[in-house]
Amino acid sequence: MGMNKVIAVEKIDDWLDTLERTHRILAPFKTGGVTRFEAYQRGKELDLERFAVSSPKEAFFPATETIFNFKLGKENVSETVVSLESQVKNQNQIVFGARCCDAKGLATFDTVFSGSGYQDPYFKKKRNTTLLITIACHQPANTCFCTSVGGGPADPKGADILLTSLDDKYLAQTFSTKAKTLLAGSFFTDATQKDLKEAKDKNEAARQKLKTFSVDGVSQKLTKIFESEYWNEKAAKCLSCGACTYTCPTCYCFNLTDEGKSTGERVRTWDSCMFPQFTLEASGHNPRPKKDHRLRNRVNHKFSYFPTQYRMLSCVGCGRCIRHCPVSVDIREIVQGAQEV
């Protein structure tokens, strides 16, 4: 059974300081007017109120990651030899201040990168050394729809520790054995039944604030309307850029390229199914040349292909794809609209 502790709000910075000695901490900081997950540094403005632009997937699936460095050398004169050298640093990490939807997004990555199929060593090493301290969401945004996709503002799924704000203090509940070690130390006192009750009520109040719509039967319906004109209408205004996919907590597509000539590196970088180059084949043929094909694919992936294969939605309802879309394409409207086509 998990531990339940309480920590005063002003103690949070000191707690992070002690954790920082043993862990690399990634938390939402405000720089240049933008709240985003960055490495902890004393004095940076921690912002737990606003939503971070992109999700904390940076911690275990960074936008740019060197797979290995290569160097073309010479054994003897006449043939060139490639020496590879890859170092994946062993680094304890803590993602502090993620929302419950972000943590739930982690499940998609676990399924894909270290599920039943191929195990991605780069992801797994970081995943096993990363702890998530999520924070319950008491003021969801008008674009949030976590409750419609099987989540909730205080759903502990994927989290090691769930903090629930109780005005001047936080309730800290652990959901994994490793998490217990983080709650040692003088910052914490035991939580009282009153604290637990208050937290439960606050979380329930937050849940009420959210409008929930049903996604039953969406997977099958999406398959049925694959050829429909519906997608042309929905994609009419889309610009086919990568803002939705690069800020999404569950998008895991990437590109592998070799950079450099005689010395260089193989590097993994984010890629987006919304870019036409994503499906451009060497022959020049592109199975998804038009943006309605691509938008249809993105929505189907989240609500049809992934659920059919892994029996879970790969959308966590964080609403980033809606907030950061330059033309406000709304995936909720597309999914609900699909059910009536």
Binding site: V53, K237, C241, Y246, P289, P326
Partner: protein, 345 residues
């Protein structure tokens, strides 16, 4: 509060909306669809609406937040096979600043005048949602209304008020063309809006560029180093730009030629934004959509305004004003008035 004089500004906006709906319905007969604005996921974020029937037209809105430069959808007519709406005739709701983009696209010959109809609409300046975002958690906004020269928002059921000149787009504060420079029909009449619009708040459009130019070279280097470290390379700035119509073949993502990798290192991000500014030299009409679209709020308009300032100093050219002029970097003069050869003696 009956009897209270309705805000002059809102009265104008409402009249324009009614007029807009009829103009759009009339245009429907000449085009395949008309692009206007509809209500988005909240009051601050209108979204482009593709009107194909009079029923669709009812969803049209017009208010102080309709900011999208819809001209970005025009270049798609040119190429069947690849881009958005090959060979369809498009109707477009176009504000003053957007109309400069339409004219520049005509100057570049990427669109044909008879393939689209412009419904011009004179504008009183739009509210910059990012300026609101820095003041109040807009993701929980419930209502927003203009009253006596200020905007009143209710967030978490608490009222907030800000004077308009604090929250309008900076481009609106120095707007020179509140009435579109090109249109087939004009909503809201031209006469009454001949006044320069919100001129009374006017600032010199390039004051921010001049401020930045005063900084030392290392200070500027560090500034861009720091800003571009945030760039995700999602290419929203490129894909929303009316002039980046070669977005699907962009050299930011090709291997032949291989100018840069997809690594999000600050140096590579900087090179991408620098060469985009070069490609837009003498073309960008400063609509500011790239800055609005950027998820990490990079000061992109500053880049392109600097380039346009340089181009106007060198060639006295301002983009998207005169449809007959050819863009400055597609022509040359045997003797350039403002370019002296460097002296080496």
């Amino acid at each position: 509060m009956a009897g209270k004089p309705i805000e002059m500004r809102n009265k104008k906006t409402k009249e324009q909306l009614e007029n807009l709906k009829t103009q759009v319905e009339e245009t429907l007969s000449q085009v395949d669809f008309v692009i206007g604005y509809a209500k988005g996921y909240d009051v601050l974020h209108p979204t482009p609406l593709f009107v194909r029937s009079t029923k669709d037209a009812q969803a049209l809105i017009w208010d102080d937040f309709c900011i999208n430069n819809l001209a970005t959808y025009l270049p798609s007519q040119k190429r069947p096979g690849g881009l958005f709406h090959p060979h369809e005739k498009i109707g477009l709701v176009v504000k003053g600043c957007d109309s400069r983009a339409v004219i520049q696209l005509l100057q570049e010959g990427i669109i044909d005048r008879e393939n689209f109809k412009i419904i011009g609409i004179s504008c009183q300046g739009k509210v910059d949602v990012k300026k609101l975002k820095n003041r109040v958690p807009i993701e929980r906004v419930e209502s927003a209304e203009i009253k006596e020269g200020s905007i009143e928002l209710t967030v978490d059921s608490r009222g907030q008020k800000y004077p308009l000149e604090e929250v309008l787009y900076s481009k609106c504060l120095s707007c020179e063309y509140p009435t579109p420079l090109i249109y087939d029909r004009l909503v809201g009449g031209e006469g009454s809006l001949r006044s320069k619009g919100p001129k009374e708040f006017a600032q010199d459009p390039y004051h921010d560029v001049e401020e930045f130019e005063k900084k030392g070279v290392n200070e500027r280097l560090d500034f861009w180093e720091q800003e571009f470290s945030r760039c995700l390379r999602c290419y929203a700035c490129r894909d929303i730009c009316p002039f980046c119509y070669c977005q699907f073949e962009c050299i930011a993502q090709t291997r032949i030629p291989h100018w840069l990798s997809q690594k999000t290192a600050s140096k590579e991000n900087k090179f991408f934004h620098m060469f985009r500014a070069m490609h837009l030299a003498g073309r960008c009409t400063e609509c500011g959509e790239c800055e609005r679209a950027c998820p990490v709020d990079l000061p992109l308009l500053l880049l392109h305004k600097k380039m346009n300032k340089k181009v106007s100093e060198l060639f006295g050219y301002r983009s998207g004003i005169n449809p007959k002029l050819r863009p400055p970097l597609t022509i040359f003069q045997p003797e350039e008035k403002n370019i002296e050869e460097e002296r080496w003696e």
